[in-house]
C-alpha cells in the first residue's frame, strides 16, 4: 500500500514537473533524426557515405567522416550553401542555400546523432544584448584585440577576407551572419582552424562578433574603402587611375599644338 502510494506520488510529481515537452521532444527528435536521415541519403551520402562514415578513394578523401562534427557544422555548411558541394574543388564555394530552415534542423539532428559534437549556438551565446552599454564597449575593445591576434592573419584586419595557398581563400566576414561566424569558430570548416570553447571562451567569441558588427557600422571617413583590402587595392587605384590619368593628360597637352591648322587659316583670313 505504502509502495503503491509512493509510486502514485512520484508518478504525479513526475507528471507535474517533468516537462511534458520532454516526452514530446524525444519523439520529435526521433522524427527529426529520421527525416534528417532521409534528406542525408539524398543529398549527402554520395560523398559522406550512407552512415556519414566518410568515403576514401585512391586519390585521398572523397568526403570526410561526419561522426562527431556536431549540429553546428551542419548548420554552418548547409546554411551558408557550402554543402552539398556543386563540384569538387580546392574549396567548397558558398551558393544559394537549397534547404529550408526546418530541413537544415533535421539534417543537423541526424548528424548530431552520429556522435557528440558542438550544437547549434543560441542567440544568447553570440550576442551581447544582455550587457550594459559600458560592458558592451569594453567587450568590443577586447573583441578587437582578439580578432587582431587570432583572425586577422587570414581574414584581413577589417574582416575583408584574403587569399590562401593553392587557389583557396579566407572569405569576407561582412556578409556572414553572427551565428555562422560563431559556428565557424566552433567547428573550423575546411582549412580554418578550430577555435573551440576551451581555446577562445564563449563570451570572447561573442566579443569578436560584436567587434565585427561595430566596424561595419563605422562610417568610412577616408572616402572609398576600395574593398578594405589595404595597400594592394589602394596602390592599384593610385597607379592605374592616378598616374594613368596624369599620363593621359600630358599626352593630351603634347598632342594639341598651339599652332593648329585651324587657327592658322583663321589668322590667314584675318590677314587677308
Amino acid at each position: 500500500m505504502v509502495m503503491l502510494l509512493g509510486l502514485l506520488f512520484t508518478g504525479t510529481l513526475y507528471a507535474a514537473f517533468a516537462p511534458a515537452n520532454a516526452e514530446k521532444g524525444s519523439d520529435n527528435q526521433d522524427e527529426q533524426i529520421a527525416a534528417g536521415r532521409e534528406l542525408f541519403l539524398v543529398g549527402c551520402a554520395f560523398c559522406h557515405g550512407q552512415n556519414g562514415e566518410g568515403i576514401n578513394s585512391q586519390n585521398g578523401q572523397y568526403g570526410p567522416s561526419l561522426v562527431g562534427v556536431g549540429a553546428a557544422a551542419v548548420d554552418f555548411q548547409v546554411g551558408t550553401g557550402r554543402m552539398p558541394m556543386a563540384q569538387p574543388g580546392q574549396q567548397a564555394a558558398t551558393k544559394d542555400n537549397l534547404y529550408s530552415d526546418e530541413e537544415i534542423e533535421q539534417l543537423a539532428a541526424y548528424v548530431a546523432s552520429l556522435g557528440p559534437g558542438p550544437s547549434i549556438p543560441t542567440s544568447d551565446e553570440y550576442s551581447l544584448d544582455n550587457l550594459t552599454g559600458e560592458q558592451k564597449s569594453e567587450a568590443i575593445v577586447r573583441g578587437g584585440q582578439l580578432f587582431l591576434a587570432n583572425c586577422s592573419a587570414c581574414h584581413n584586419f577589417e574582416g575583408s577576407g584574403g587569399a590562401m595557398p593553392w587557389g583557396k581563400k579566407a572569405p569576407s566576414l561582412r556578409e556572414t551572419s553572427d551565428k555562422h561566424i560563431y559556428e565557424a569558430m566552433l567547428t573550423g570548416p575546411q582549412q580554418m582552424d578550430v577555435f573551440s570553447n576551451g581555446n577562445i571562451a564563449p563570451e570572447d567569441k561573442a566579443a569578436i562578433i560584436a567587434y565585427l558588427n561595430s566596424i561595419e557600422e563605422n562610417p568610412g571617413y577616408g572616402g572609398f574603402s576600395l574593398g578594405g583590402l589595404g595597400p594592394v587595392s589602394e596602390g592599384m587605384f593610385a597607379w592605374i587611375v592616378g598616374i594613368g590619368g596624369l599620363v593621359g593628360f600630358a599626352y593630351w597637352i603634347a598632342a594639341h599644338s598651339a599652332r593648329s591648322e585651324k587657327t592658322e587659316t583663321g589668322s590667314e583670313e584675318t590677314n587677308a
Partner: protein
C-alpha cells in the same frame, strides 16, 4: 689631304658619307596667332591670369570648407563620401591643377617661340688639348718627385687609408652591441603558456584536434581577470610593460596547434616528447625576415607567412616546404606542469626569427 686622312684614321673616326638625300633643314617658322594678333595675345594673357585667379579662389574655398563643414555626422553626402572630404580634396586639387594649367597655357601661347637646333660634336677633346694635358700631368709628377721618393709616396697612401679608421670606429656609436639578446627569449623551464590578449593559462584538455591558439609566455600579457593577475603575482610573475614588453613580445610569441598524433612526424630536431597529446608549440616569428605568422591550414598543418609566402609544415618539426625561409621554425618543447597546465620544458634551443651574422649555423 693625305695627312688629313691619316689624322682621321688615327682617331678611328669613320670617313664622312655623302648624304643620299639632301638635308631639308628646318621647316619655315610659322608664327602662332598670339604672335601676330594683339587681340589673341591679350586674350591669352587674360586666360592665364584667369587660371591663376581660379586657383586663388579654390585655395580660399578650401579654407572656408575646412572651417564650415562638419566631419562627424556628414559621412556620406556624395556617393558615399563625406562632404568635408570631397570639398577639401576637390578645392585643394583644383587649386594646384589651375596653377599647372596656367603655367602650361602661358608657355604654349605667350613665352618665346623659336626653334632651336643643337649640333652634335665628337665627345673627345682635340688632339692638342689631350697632349697638353698629359704633358702637364707628367711634368707635375716629375716635379713632385713622387716616383723618386717611395718613402713619401707609401706613407701618404698609408695616411689616407688610416683616415678611414675613425669613420669605421665611429659606427660603434650607432647603438649598443646586441650581445646574446638575439639568442634568448623570456621562455625558460616551467614558464606557463597563456592565451594572447586574455592572459589565461592553458590546460591541454581545453584544446580540441584542429585548434590553433595564439599564445605568449606568462608575464607578457597582463590578464584581463584580476584574480589571475593576483595569482600570478603570488607565484612571483612579473608583468612586463612598455618597451621591454614590445621587445620580448617580438621574440617570444608562439602558436599552439593540436593535431592528431598519428599525423605527426618526429625527428631529432622535433622529438616526440616535445609535444603533449598532439599539441605542439612553434615560434610565431618567421625565420626569413621576422614577420609574425599565423595563417595556418588546418588539414595540411601548413603555416604560411603572409609577407613572402614561406610555408612551414608544423606536423614535421616546422620544416620549410615553400618560400624563401632558410630555416625551420624553432619549436618550443612542451610538457604538463604538476598543476595540469601547459608549460615549457625549456626555452627555445636555437635563436628565433631571421638569420644574422653572428648566429651559429647548423
Amino acid at each position: 689631304m693625305s695627312e688629313n686622312h691619316d689624322a682621321e684614321s688615327s682617331n678611328n673616326l669613320p670617313a664622312p658619307i655623302e648624304e643620299p638625300i639632301a638635308n631639308p633643314g628646318l621647316a619655315p617658322h610659322k608664327p602662332r596667332p598670339t604672335d601676330i594678333d594683339p587681340r589673341a595675345e591679350r586674350r591669352a594673357e587674360r586666360q592665364v591670369a584667369a587660371f591663376f585667379i581660379a586657383s586663388m579662389v579654390c585655395a580660399v574655398l578650401f579654407c572656408v570648407a575646412y572651417f564650415t563643414l562638419d566631419i562627424k555626422d556628414e559621412t556620406d553626402t556624395f556617393i558615399g563620401l563625406g562632404a568635408s572630404n570631397v570639398a577639401l580634396g576637390a578645392t585643394l586639387g583644383l587649386a594646384l591643377m589651375f596653377i599647372g594649367i596656367g603655367i602650361i597655357h602661358w608657355a604654349r601661347k605667350l613665352m618665346g617661340d623659336v626653334e632651336i637646333s643643337e649640333q652634335r660634336h665628337p665627345a673627345a677633346s682635340s688632339e692638342e688639348d689631350r697632349e697638353a694635358t698629359l704633358a702637364a700631368l707628367s711634368a707635375g709628377l716629375e716635379e713632385s718627385g713622387i716616383g723618386r721618393r717611395p718613402l713619401i709616396r707609401n706613407t701618404m697612401i698609408g695616411a689616407l687609408g688610416f683616415v678611414g679608421l675613425p669613420l669605421i670606429v665611429g659606427l660603434r656609436d650607432l647603438g649598443p652591441l646586441p650581445g646574446k639578446k638575439l639568442e634568448r627569449t623570456v621562455w625558460k623551464k616551467d614558464t606557463r603558456i597563456v592565451r594572447d590578449v586574455t592572459g589565461t593559462p592553458v590546460r591541454p584538455e581545453q584544446l580540441e584536434v584542429g585548434d590553433l591558439m595564439n599564445a605568449q609566455p606568462e608575464g607578457l600579457v597582463t590578464p584581463h581577470s584580476e584574480e589571475i593577475e593576483k595569482e600570478g603575482h603570488s607565484r612571483g610573475v612579473e608583468y612586463l610593460e612598455g618597451v621591454d614588453l614590445q621587445v620580448e613580445k617580438s621574440k617570444s610569441s608562439v602558436i599552439l596547434l593540436r593535431m592528431e598524433p598519428k599525423d605527426q612526424t618526429f625527428s631529432k630536431r622535433s622529438p616526440e616528447n616535445w609535444s603533449v597529446n598532439g599539441i605542439v608549440a612553434f615560434s610565431k616569428i618567421c625565420t626569413h625576415v621576422g614577420c609574425p605568422i599565423s595563417l595556418n591550414e588546418q588539414q595540411s598543418h601548413h603555416l604560411l607567412c603572409p609577407c613572402h609566402q614561406s610555408t612551414f609544415d608544423l606536423a614535421d618539426g616546422g620544416r620549410v616546404v615553400f618560400g624563401p625561409a632558410a630555416r625551420p621554425l624553432p619549436q618550443l618543447p612542451l610538457k604538463i606542469s604538476e598543476d595540469g597546465y601547459l608549460v615549457a620544458q625549456s626555452g627555445f634551443l636555437e635563436p628565433v626569427g631571421p638569420s644574422y651574422w653572428e648566429r651559429d649555423s647548423e
